[in-house]
Subunit: 363 residues, 2 copies
Amino acid sequence: MDNLRIPGPTPLPDEVLKTMSRQMINHRGPEFKQIQDDVLTDLKKLFMTKNDVFLLTGSGTGGLEAGVVNTMSPGDKVLSVSIGVFGDRFAAIAKHFGADVTNLNVEWGKAADPDAVRKALQADPRIKTVLVTHNETSTGVTNDLKAISAVVKEFDKLLVVDAISSLGSIEMPVDDWNIDIAITGSQKGWMVPPGLAMVSVSQRGWQAHAESKIPSFYWDFGKAKDYLAKGQTPWTPAVNVIYGLEVALKMMLKEGLPNIFARHARIAQSVRDGIKALGLSLFAEESHASNTVSSVAGSNGLDTRKLVKIMREQEHVVLAGGQRTLDGKIFRIGHLGWVSDDDIKGFLSSLKKVLPQAGFKGG
Amino acid sequence: MDNLRIPGPTPLPDEVLKTMSRQMINHRGPEFKQIQDDVLTDLKKLFMTKNDVFLLTGSGTGGLEAGVVNTMSPGDKVLSVSIGVFGDRFAAIAKHFGADVTNLNVEWGKAADPDAVRKALQADPRIKTVLVTHNETSTGVTNDLKAISAVVKEFDKLLVVDAISSLGSIEMPVDDWNIDIAITGSQKGWMVPPGLAMVSVSQRGWQAHAESKIPSFYWDFGKAKDYLAKGQTPWTPAVNVIYGLEVALKMMLKEGLPNIFARHARIAQSVRDGIKALGLSLFAEESHASNTVSSVAGSNGLDTRKLVKIMREQEHVVLAGGQRTLDGKIFRIGHLGWVSDDDIKGFLSSLKKVLPQAGFKGG
């Protein structure tokens, strides 16, 4: 079996794989209600929130679209804090639906500076909403969301967070950090297949929802809330991904949040240490290097595209390349969800073996 | 195990169940490309189309929203031909995104009259687009889509069809019938879990897409087409539902379309015959009764809500009740996808047993 080391979809534990093949049930019957209630109770523990949480059937990007269309109106001033491809996507969605987006774009590989956020909010008091990526999957950088949120809340703005590749893997207490809308995706740290976006909505989020004038039908949080009161979802949900999520959440709660965070931190450190020991350069600034995905620069003759290909074909280790302007310049390693120290040892030993074939002259 | 006799999610065959628990893969790698290519090649055979076909991660209603936001502009005149809950939902989506909707609403339980469609199109030449439900799941009625399409094409209008509970189960040759946008959902006759909408887009559909001014990001057919050229989807797809679909499509092609249609027709007839033999009344007009879902009226003292409950609790047969104004007035039986004569025999024998407990005095 391949060692799937991309930042999602992530490998599924056996317990989850097993439950994926359970027979279908009525999504408007009592059995589904019980499963969804159970899943949402557990999700709230992992989101560390008392806010409403919903399961939306779609990709993570659908969750981002939901975050936009439920909270904004055309012409609304929005500050986008972007540190990579997914931050840019979030801004593009808001712009696409008519928001007036001010871009606070940070050099790729670096984190956003909370003071820069403060200056941007001071510069334009009309800004209503701030979009932030907690963990930027394209660069392997984690923003200091706690500090950014504190600034956003100094100015009493709505905070909408792409937490797709952070929630459930690295610390992100939704209530303590005053996150109004938090969005994550099933195929990341949650150890289940893609097909579900999970979102939380604060009271402040509901106020924004009430005022929002962007049309939303499929993604409407209001409909999600109405149907949840009946133990249902408005539209037929991805039932078997929810089966998987129920099992995965029990595994996560059994491990415990502090242990999950510690494991991700330890494994990420061993990835970074191993990368450096091979003479490779980390792309992300180390002070904000992500504990869920690492990025490595193509230094010293290393052809990153070739490396990704050789690793897959010869070593059965599946890595991710760079996206957009980083294509051919970096490669990325996912280490979130169901990942062990042995997975990383295997990855590093394969990497060491094939580096010379991919042109690497360093080390 | 329950005899799941709702009109979706439908039961999964063993071969599909087995493949649902395959390990994850990279959705931007060669293995996914091969699977998606294979699935789309087979889907085109079952859609009977040379048009573009896309896999969208979402519920069927997401597919309907995609059909609207990709083809219309605010203010566009749209004719909605609705014969039930899902036709009304389609119209509501179009209206929600700003279309100027003319409603041709037909009494629930009956099919639309192609002549009425002609009159509506004659009455307002500004109509650009016609929305039609092929098979109305809420009433168990199948429209004469071939005849309706012929009328729509007399007037050279765009035809957008909700084929969620028809395609793959009852005849619907997309190209022969000139369907510009056909939308279906994985959890119906396709025998896989919910989580995918499958859509086809004609040349005419692409023209409408080029002119459309409703903002669409997640559902944008243009992005789907761009990424398909690379063997990918724009956003992380519901990988394991696609695994299931690949297997289910092979089963369907092995059975053969004429045989699938004949099986659905035969089984539907045995449901209707059995219902009548018990002294119950069919709700849908028999000339247009659906071959995928049947509806039964709550006549002669029958409490349909109670019946659905007793059937589930005592007989482990899961039926659907009525929706909206039909709640408490009808019950529904799904017989699409992986359904056999024995499933129906079991359902009818359970039904016969419990009818008196649900207040039925007839028969």
